[in-house]
């Protein structure tokens, strides 16, 4: 910590406290032996974890969430990577406009997007809610796919691809041996961000839910409204553990700074 800047240091500590302490409360209460969501926990037990992993609606919703997040991430990258290349390397007229379009889901309120998709696709075209959710989540992920992969491309020397061509590589070969390897950290971080954002999304998933398909956060929200027991805290702890695991793996393999931002290379 930088002791020569006490104000900044204090603010940083306050930031960590505000972000982390409430989460610690949830984790602590999930290990309670009692039957209410209360701090301090009454006794220590794993009974709520046992309940959580045997609670069918949660299991079903967890699988749904993972499926949706994985598919939306893949789709967003498949659309986003070519868009990034076109924006950064192509001779696209109105590049700024195109980039703005791909980034706009960050600004448009999700409820508006959700409502529009609900009206037009679910009611209008009678698409099933999984398809509509997949479309909605993909659209929400696009800014990450375009921005984060774009950041690693923008920082790369624009002449490396020309260098590869000059050495004898066809455009396709250049893409696979130079462009894609340069994009790899960006793609990895975009995938991670997209996946987490989709997995945690509430507004879209709430609007576009159905009895057959609903995501974990929506199911948990539903559950909390009816019963106030520590099973939700246990579920949250499980999700938190999974996220931390992903973060640790990411840090070990490519490094956090590189993943988030995809730029500090």
């Amino acid at each position: 910590m930088n002791t020569r800047r006490p104000v900044a240091a204090t603010l940083a500590v306050a930031g960590y406290v505000i972000m982390i302490v409430p989460i610690l409360f949830v984790v602590a209460t999930s290990f309670t032996g009692g039957s209410t969501l209360r701090f301090p926990p009454e006794g220590l037990s794993l009974r709520w974890f046992d309940a959580a992993v045997h609670h069918t609606p949660f299991i079903t919703a967890m699988v749904s969430s993972l499926q949706l997040a994985a598919l939306a991430t893949v789709l967003a990258l498949l659309l986003g990577i070519p868009a990034t290349l076109a924006i950064h390397r192509g001779r696209l007229p109105g590049k700024g406009l195109v980039e703005g379009l791909f980034l706009s889901p960050l600004i448009v309120p999700e409820l508006v997007v959700g409502l529009a998709l609900f009206q037009q696709l679910m009611i209008g075209l009678r698409l099933d809610n999984f398809t509509v959710l997949l479309i909605g989540h993909t659209v929400l992920m696009l800014p990450y796919a375009v921005r984060v992969t774009g950041a690693s491309l923008a920082l790369a020397d624009p002449f490396v691809e020309e260098a590869a061509r000059g050495l004898g590589a066809s455009p396709l070969r250049t893409f696979f041996t130079v462009t894609l390897p340069l994009l790899r950290p960006g793609i990895f971080s975009a995938a991670l961000l997209s996946f987490v954002t989709s997995f945690n999304n509430v507004p879209l998933s709430l609007l576009l839910q159905s009895r057959d398909f609903r995501t974990l956060p929506v199911t948990m929200l539903d559950y909390v409204q009816q019963s106030y027991d520590p099973m939700v805290a246990a579920t949250s702890t499980i999700i938190l553990a999974g996220t931390v695991l992903v973060a640790v793996v990411a840090e070990r393999t490519v490094g956090f700074a590189r993943i988030f931002g995809g730029i500090n290379r």
Binding site: D157, V160, E162, A164, R165, L167, G168, V178, P181, R184
Partner: protein, 331 residues
Amino acid sequence: MTVAAQFQQVTQRFGDFTAVDAIDLTIPAGKLTTLLGPSGCGKTTSLRMLAGYSTPTSGRILIDGVDSTRTPPERRGLGMVFQSYALFPHLTVAENVGYGLKLRKMPAAERTRVVAETLDLVGLGHLAGSRPKKLSGGQQQRVALARAIAIRPKLLLLDEPLSNLDARLRVHMRAELRRIQAETGLTVVLVTHDQDEALELSDQMVVMREGRILQQGAPIDVFPAPANRLVAEFLGYENFVTSADGTLRTVRPEHLQVLGQERRADGLTLEGVVVDVAFRGVDRLVTVDADDSLGRTVRLTADVRDGAVTARPGDRVVLGADQAHVVTLAG
């Protein structure tokens, strides 16, 4: 003279801007040609057209006698060194150098040998396993050079290869480039804005400005006889004097002297008032307001040990240059 490449009436326009204006240029094989000029003169555009990264608006480019105007870069077999070096950051030094060889399906054992030889040629054999970002600027530049040389290119193209190096290293690398060119016998085209670099390195120098070639030839022929004022200015001539009959003459600052009472110069004489004397280590730079009809400022350098130069601002002086040092310009 064997011809390695030729520009025939090559023009490149970007919208309304004419970057290169109908140039004709012959690149002799086995020689080092420099394209010299200020930024925006069309030298880099010409190099990029030669490499195949941009297609001329009109005209033809021949490589080894074959019309290659529209041949994509990967089928030209040329080696290019970019100003930014453009090394592949995800590959090691050896993999960078071997990239072009791998594409040519050279067997692994032979490839390893050629990569090692080429790295030795540029003096980087010990860094084969390093990543480019761990290297200094000068080392990266050598890797870029080795990568381009390894494929035994028909032409080696260098875009301002030394401009990102510090002054001392730049001068050292000039000698290195000459050695490498001599050892490999490659045809080299080098783009630069540095006239000293061009003079020192070139077999043939091509002075460009505003998309046109102003003058070309061996440095030893071009330097003492610039074709016109623009070339002269670019080669460091100053002190342009128009005579009564309209001829334009020029003298470099180091060839203009402050004359004592007893001497007259046989080439050119001027009178004027000293406005500034600046000490520069090896010499003094004297700025004089000449009272010829054009009222121009002339500058001369005088050796610091030259006791005769005692001029101070405000003094009236007579300046002169010997005929051998006065260059008469066509326009």
